[in-house]
Amino acid sequence: MPTTTLSPRGTTARSTTIALKLLMAVTGLVFVGYLLLHMYGNLKALAGEEAFNTYAEHLRTFGEPMLPYGGLLWIVRIVLILSIIGHAYAAFRLWSRAGAARRTRYDAVKTAATSKWMRWGGVFLLVFIVWHLLHFTIVKISPNPDKQGIDITANPYQLVVASFQVWWMVLIYVAAMIALFMHLKHGVYSAQQTLGWTMTPKAHGRAKTIATATAALIVVGFLIPPLSIAFGLIP
């Protein structure tokens, strides 16, 4: 049998896989906070065109004159960009590590569905975010053949309504929300565990409940506006 001798090596807390997990947990919680705000804004669509567009404009004038026009929005965007870089970096590092940690698969073990949902679901959400930004922020595309032109694309409310009157757009967004639900259900629990907030079996159960509730709240809140438009409740 090989002997078990240790070779001394430099060791810091920052170089560990747990530090990577902490990075993932903290950036993940940044996203949860952002999603709650984003969801609140979306629900303004139920209050009508003026309320929705005023809210969108206020996001840009928030903090004036201390901040320039759109200043707060850019601060939020930079935080989100840094968070997504950190989140994805940690995820892919740990993913490749996990692959290298077991090169020979078991014959009779099935991989836990949760881990597949987290990883492939996360990749899907990343692709979705790119599409979503192109759709509503960067390019502002109206997929509705009946509603084209600057009147639609320059008006946030009209662009939202025009988009969700198209069935396949609703489908994309519903699919993304299913993936988001699965991601948050495990992710919010996992973040609490990684941050060391679940030290007793009771706290453990509570963390799982918080995660499912957060995931359900966010997903239902996000689905209300598009489904209301798709079913004609918002004209």
Partner: protein
């Protein structure tokens, strides 16, 4: 009982290995899983074939030496060690797949035997308390709250069998390490080296090639001692504290 066994055979660390199917008959339901393998090995010996190599020692479920992946479950379908698993847990005529623990950090020595030296090296890197030897101090010299003593005992039940690593989708050793960190961290004697311990143990763990934890919970399900997930939370918290202390 008559059973079909699909067992992993590998002549050495460099061998590619493959599954070989064996049939055993007249197995008593009261036999342990390892006794059933003993019966098979006696038959193989009689035929002049190489017996199947597997680890075992106390056969009482307390040493942590045995451990097989049985039909996709670490230590089989019951919450116990392989040696304490009995054949009554299986159906007559069943086909059972027997595999070694699979993790790059646990290289296969032969057939179903893996080298778990990685666990020893994790312990060596910090899973201990440095104390002057001499006569034992008075039992009441260092008071320990009952809840802390209970939790330390619960974590100390870990026998280091490696089922957590075997069951983990990432082949992570976090449950094992969490048990050790919780065990020592709950006691006053463990405090002076607390930060240094968690940092060296986790670094050694990562260096050995174990995966990271994704909080799936397969480890606790597989653990014959039922060590819960909250020891991993403790481990994470201890590392976070060490990070805060600038380690």
């Amino acid at each position: 009982m008559n059973l079909t066994l699909k067992i992993w055979r590998q002549s050495g660390p460099q061998d590619k290995g493959q599954f070989v199917t064996y049939r055993v008959s007249d197995i008593s339901p009261d036999m342990s899983f390892l006794e059933m393998l003993d019966v098979l090995n006696e038959e193989l010996n009689a035929k002049g074939e190489e017996p199947i190599a597997f680890d075992s020692d106390c056969r009482e479920g307390i040493c942590g030496m045995c451990g097989l992946m049985i039909s996709g479950h670490a230590h089989g379908p019951e919450k116990t060690t392989t040696c304490q698993l009995h054949m009554r847990s299986f159906k007559d005529g069943e086909t059972i797949t027997v595999e070694p623990w699979r993790a790059e950090a646990f290289p296969i020595v032969r057939d179903l035997v893996v080298d778990r030296g990685a666990f020893d090296r994790i312990i060596q890197s910090g899973g201990f308390i440095s104390a002057n030897t001499g006569s034992a101090p008075d039992a009441h010299a260092a008071p320990v709250p009952k809840t802390a003593a209970d939790r330390a005992f619960m974590a100390a039940e870990c026998i280091g069998c490696g089922a957590c690593v075997a069951a983990c989708p990432n082949a992570s050793g976090m449950l094992f390490m969490g048990a050790k960190i919780t065990h020592l961290g709950e006691l006053p004697q463990g405090q002076p080296e607390r930060d240094a311990r968690v940092v060296s143990m986790v670094n050694q763990h990562d260096h050995e090639g174990f995966g990271g934890c994704t909080n799936i919970g397969e480890c606790s399900q597989a653990c014959p001692k039922g060590i819960p997930q909250d020891v991993i939370s403790q481990l994470n918290k201890d590392l976070r504290t060490a990070l805060k202390h600038g380690r």
